[in-house]
Each structure stands twice: as C-alpha cells, then as structure tokens.
C-alpha cells in the first residue's frame, strides 16, 4: 500500500516535471512555430538566476517563482527583439539562430559562473509514508505544474489577451487587419514562453547539480513531448507528458533506469509513427 502510494507520487511527479520542462517550448514552438534550440539554456539561466538570488539572500520561493521567470523572460525579450523577430516563418533559420544562441548562453554562463557544478538544497524536507521516505519537494513540483496548466488555460481561454494571442498565431494578417500589432503580440508571447522556461529551470534547480551545459539534458525531452503532443497546446502537453511520464516510471520501477529512458524514446517513436500529427492530431481535436 505504502509502495503503491510512493510509486503513484513518483509517476505524478514525472508527468509534472515533463509538463514544466515542455510548457515554455509548447508556447514558443507549438504556438509561434519557432524551433527554439536554446530552450534548455533558458532553463539553465532560470536555475542560475535562482541560485544567484538565493545567494544574495532572497527567499528561495520568491527567487524561483518570481525573479527567475522575470529575468529569463526579459532575456527572452531581448533575444526576440535582436534575433527572432527577423526570422518568423523561417523554421530552419530559427533553428540555426537559436542553436547559436544556446552556444552563446553556455559560453556566457561559463564565463560568469564558471564550469563547476553548483546548486542549492531543496527548501522542503522529506517525510515518511509508512516505511518509505519521499521527497516533499516532489509535491511542490506537482502543485506548480497543476497551477501552471490551470493558469495557462485561464489566460488563453478566459482573457482577451489570450484570445488575441491565439488569433494572431492562427492568422497574423487578420489580427493586423483588426488593428492589433502582430509584432507586439509575438513579442509578448515569446516573453511568456521564455518566462515559463525560466520558471521550469528555477523550480528544478534544487533537485539537480547545475552546470552551464545542463540545458542539453532537457531539450530532447521537451521537444519530444511537444511534438508528440500535437497541435493543441494544453491538451497536447498534458496527454503526451502523461503518456511518457507513466511509461518512463513504470519501466524504471519494473526494470532499470536505463530501460526507463529507452522506453520513453521507444514510446515516442511508436507514437509518432502511429500519429504523425501528434496525439491531439487524432484525439481531443479542436481542444485548446
């Protein structure tokens, strides 16, 4: 009983962390069609921002949930103004440009923070479930992911800004004809996407040893999740994160962590073979 609870928490946690890792990319790539290969580096910067802020005496939760998203969002804003905005609609070019950006960020982070592993410890203690100890921080990650999804849903569906953003992504020319500046809206959306990446990096920072090249560990998973999710932003994110998180954890528990990683990738290949448009290309059509 205790064990099944622990496993359930771990599975939920795996799904939640996939949602977090992929949310920023889902906005930038899923909505805006910018292949952001610097996504992992945005997360890495979020982690470093948190560690620096905590080092300066800021409360760790404020650092993670407020400062990191803001700082990385602003970095994203600058990047968008300088580079990305010239490349909208040029899929391959954005790939090359953002790959270059990722190298720049790795270089900058190395210069500023050095190449040694850094980190902060988790702010929430572990606790016992029967005979088992589990990390209290896992629950925090799950809560953040749930709140994030609800917030995204609320903004995109419930607010005028969300409506305008969605409209612009579908038909920029129509949005322009109705008097909205696509340029501004793209800028704001990219800011939000970067901020989400920063948030993910920040929230995961206490769990990992951070180095400037840490971003590389997330980028593949993020792209797999977003691509397998398909055209619908939130339904896609949730459905693919759930599939992959469950597959990964079940195989990790049943066999070994190596097989868990392999199973995730095999699942992705099979899924895309059967549903080339992603999960929401077949199911949940028309959902957000």
């Amino acid at each position: 009983m205790d064990l099944s609870f622990v496993i359930a928490v771990e599975v939920l946690y795996a799904v939640a962390s996939l949602v977090l890792i992929s949310a920023g990319l889902a906005v930038v790539f899923g909505m805006m069609k910018v292949i952001n290969l610097a996504h992992g580096e945005f997360m890495m910067l979020g982690g470093y921002t948190t560690i620096t802020a905590v080092g300066l005496g800021v409360n760790v939760f404020i650092a993670m949930l407020v400062i990191a998203p803001l700082v990385v969002g602003l970095i994203g804003l600058i990047v968008e103004r300088l580079v990305i905005r010239h490349l909208y609609g040029r899929l391959v070019d954005t790939m090359l440009a953002t790959w270059g950006l990722s190298l720049v960020f790795i270089g900058l982070a190395t210069m500023i923070f050095g190449n040694t592993t850094t980190g902060i410890s988790t702010p929430i203690p572990g606790f016992a479930v029967g005979n088992y100890q589990i990390s209290g921080y896992n629950f925090f990650i799950i809560v953040v992911a749930v709140v994030l999804v609800i917030a995204m849903l609320a903004v995109l569906r419930g607010t005028r800004a969300g409506l305008i953003a969605r409209g612009t992504m579908q038909r920029a020319d129509m949005a322009a004809a109705l008097g909205y500046s696509p340029d501004r809206i793209y800028m704001a959306t990219f800011f939000c996407g970067s901020a989400l990446s920063g948030l993910a990096g920040a929230v995961l920072a206490p769990l990992v040893g951070l180095v400037p090249t840490s971003g590389g560990a997330y980028i593949a998973k993020a792209f797999i999740t977003v691509i397998a999710g398909g055209p619908s932003l939130i339904a896609g994110l949730l459905s693919s994160a759930t599939s992959f998180g469950v597959v990964n954890q079940v195989f990790t528990f049943a066999i070994s962590p190596v097989i868990g990683e392999v199973a995730l990738l095999v699942a992705a290949v099979i899924l895309l073979r059967l549903m080339p448009q992603g999960i929401t290309g077949r199911f949940f059509k028309g959902k957000l």
């Binding site: 064990l3 622990v6 496993i7 771990e10 946690y13 795996a14 962390s17 190449n115 040694t116 592993t117 850094t118 980190g119 902060i120 410890s121 988790t122 929430i124 203690p125 572990g126 606790f127 016992a128 005979n131 088992y132 100890q133 589990i134 990390s135 209290g136 921080y137 896992n138 206490p206 769990l207 990992v208 040893g209 951070l210 180095v211 090249t213 840490s214 590389g216 560990a217 954890q249 990790t252 528990f253 070994s256 962590p257 190596v258 868990g260 990683e261």
Partner: protein
C-alpha cells in the same frame, strides 16, 4: 632522381629544420615537458587544477635548479574537453615539439586516444588520474588510484559503519561498470550481500523512482560510483527525500572534483569515501603544499584528488630523471622500475615495477561540513587488480588494457 615541387619543398623544410637543430639541442637547452589537459569545457573542474598542479610542480623543480642542470620548460595544450583534439595535440607534442615526456589525459577515453602515439614515437607518458585499472604498457606510468586500492578499503569501512546489505548505483560506462563489479566482489568477500545494482546514463538527473526502489530493497548501505554534474543530483535528491539519516551512503567518485564543496553540509555530511588525497590531510607535506598553492595562484584552494595525483606524477618523473642521470627514455624507465618513491601531499607514492602503477596511501574519509575528514589512513596499498593481470618485467612488450575478470 626526379624532383617535383612537393619533394623540393619538403626537403628544403627538413634541411632548414636540421640546420636549426643544434641551437635547440646542443646549447644545453631546456628539458621539454609536454602537457595535454582539458583546461576548458565540461571537464575543466578536473583539468584546471591539474594544470595548476603541473605548473607548480615544474616551478618547484626549476627553483631547485632544474634537472641534470637544465631548466624544465612546459609545452601545454588545452584539449577543451574534446576527445578529437587529444589525437591532434598528441601528434603535435611528439612529432613537432618533440617533448621529452608527456603528462596528461583525464578521461580514460583521452588516455587511450594518445597512448599508442606515445608508444610509437617512444615518448615517455604519464597518466595521473584515478581510473578503472588494467592498462599494461611499459611506456606509460600511472599514478592514480585503481578500484582495488580504493574499493577494497572503502567497502569494509563503509560496511562496518552500516551493515551487510548493500545497494550499488553506478554510472553506465566502463568506469562505473567495472567499479560496480569490484564492489560486488569486495562486498561478498566481507560477508555482505548486494541486494541491487542499477546503472545510470551520464545525463540522468532524476533519481526519484530510484530512491523509492532502493527503499523497497531496504539495504543498510548505498555505494554510488556516479559521475558528473547530472549525477550529483542523486545526492541532493537523496537528502531531500530524508534518506540521509536512514541509509548510509558511500561513493568512489564524490569529491574527486571537489563536489563536496557544492553540496550543502545537510546533503553531504556523513558520506563515506576513500582517496589518496583530502585537503584536510594533516601532514606537513600537505600543509606546505596548500600554502604554496595559495601563494602561487592568489589564494586559490581548488586542489583535489587528481590534481594531487598529477603533481605526484610529475615529481615521480623528475625523481626518475635524477636517478637515471640522463634524458634517455629507456634509462628513465629503468630508473623508475627500481621502485622509486616520493613524498607528496597525499603521502608516500612508490612506483610498482611490475605494473608501472603506484603503491600509495589510501585515506578513509567522511564528509563533514563540506570537508573530507580523514578517519583512517591505510598505508602503501598495492594496485592488486592490475598486478593480477599485468607483469611488465615478464612481458615488457605488453600493450593492452586488460579487463579484469572477477
């Protein structure tokens, strides 16, 4: 004899070089020490202090009047954590710079990338890093700790402090696989039982499910030969789950790159390990070493296990040259094979003539407030793993890395 442009250019170049040779060689010139290390890139946490250690050792040698009355000059290449650059710079050091000795290489892959070049060009080579053991080649001298030296000491120490049921969490490449086999052997030898072994690719940074899985096996002790930044997450998540006070933890790698200074005291306290060096070693040699290091590098204190091994390696080579009284490669090898010893910050280091590995002190340690507190010193441990497969005095032409059967 036909002469085309390419031949002509080649020969003129050769002639010019020969013409310039006497000034370089016969003017009682310097001794050339080639260094090849990852001083930048992902492995620079290892490579930078090694480079510093090398420069410090050389400056000490030169201050003491050099070797054979000649100064030692460093030719250093930074391989930028790129294995391809090792082959390139290895060629450059041996064929172009024609150095007298090469010290360097960090990962086992980098050593294997240049070892054959050194052998072919008859350039003496020192590899000074903790590694998985088994290299048998008369042209190479190895100063790092091998699994038998380290694991043989660590396992009984850790089991005595915890219990008989052991769980192994290892990195999934040759170092982790081989070390895990050694741990299994020594756990069995000490009357214990391995209740589980898991391997992790180097980029895995989420250990949540593993931590739950370890608990289902309920071991008394977890031994973790995990490698790199992503794997450091394990120690963090282990503490976050509140496991630290329930199950004892030991590692064969944590601290080699000063990782214990990254973990907070709450995360690191109590983790057991065994190395040749700790900054907290209370010996006059170490105190002097740390002081000199701080003076030379502006207060820096980044020396660690493999930087100190590297320092030992260079000092050992210098001792060999002094004893040989010449720079001839075979003369130095034979001098080293007499079983030369040096005293370094990690204790006494002796060349094992049979294997060209090192006989050295292994210190049992426990992490305490971001320090590696030395609990006990096991003097002069033999590299028994490599000794079991390698005998260079019987087979001087051996050139293999043996995978040790356990």
């Amino acid at each position: 004899m036909s002469l085309n442009r390419r031949d002509f250019l080649g020969r003129t170049a050769a002639l010019t070089t020969t013409a310039m040779l006497p000034t370089a060689v016969f003017a009682d010139g310097t001794i050339k020490l080639g260094s090849i290390l990852d001083a930048s890139g992902p492995f620079d946490a290892y490579g930078k202090p090694m480079d510093q250690a090398m420069r410090m050792a050389v400056s000490e040698i030169n201050e003491a009047g050099g070797l054979l009355g000649r100064q030692v000059e460093v030719t250093a290449y930074d391989t930028q954590s790129d294995m391809a650059l090792y082959s390139q710079y290895g060629q450059q050091l041996t064929r172009q710079d024609k150095v007298d000795v090469v010290h360097g290489g960090i990962l086992s892959a980098s050593r294997e990338a240049i070892r054959q070049t050194m052998r072919k060009t008859k350039t003496l080579y020192f590899y000074n890093v903790l590694y998985e053991g088994g290299v048998c080649d008369r042209n190479i001298f190895i100063n790092g700790v091998t699994p038998a030296q380290q694991v043989e000491a660590l396992v009984p120490f850790a089991m005595k402090n915890s219990g008989k049921k052991v769980y192994i969490l290892a990195a999934d490449y040759n170092y982790g696989q081989i070390t895990a086999r050694w741990i299994q052997k020594f756990v069995a030898d000490n009357g214990g039982e391995v209740v589980g072994t898991d391997f992790f690719p180097l980029d895995v940074s989420d250990f949540g499910s593993t931590i739950a899985k370890v608990q289902t096996a309920a071991p008394d002790l977890v031994i973790a030969p995990l490698v790199g930044g992503a794997h450091l997450s394990f120690f963090r998540q282990w503490a976050a789950a509140g496991m630290k006070d329930k199950i004892a933890l030991a590692s064969t790698t944590l601290g080699v790159g000063n990782e214990h200074k990254v973990l907070t005291p709450e995360e690191g306290n109590g983790i057991m390990c065994a190395y040749n060096y700790s900054q907290e070693l209370d010996t006059p040699e170490n105190a002097q070493f740390k002081e000199k290091w701080a003076a030379m590098f502006g207060g820096d204190q980044s020396m660690h296990e493999i930087a100190v091994s590297h320092y030992h390696g260079i000092k050992t080579w210098a001792e060999g040259v002094r004893k040989a009284g010449s720079l001839d490669r075979m003369a130095i090898i034979e001098a080293l094979e007499t079983g030369i010893s040096i005293m370094g910050p990690g204790g006494k280091v002796t060349v094992d003539p049979k294997t060209h590995h090192a006989v050295l002190d292994v210190h049992l340690m426990q992490m305490q407030d971001q320090q590696m507190k030395v609990i006990e010193t096991l003097p002069q441990r033999q590299p028994v793993d490599t000794q079991a497969v390698c005998d260079l005095s019987a087979n001087p032409n051996d050139n293999t890395q043996y995978e040790i059967e356990i």
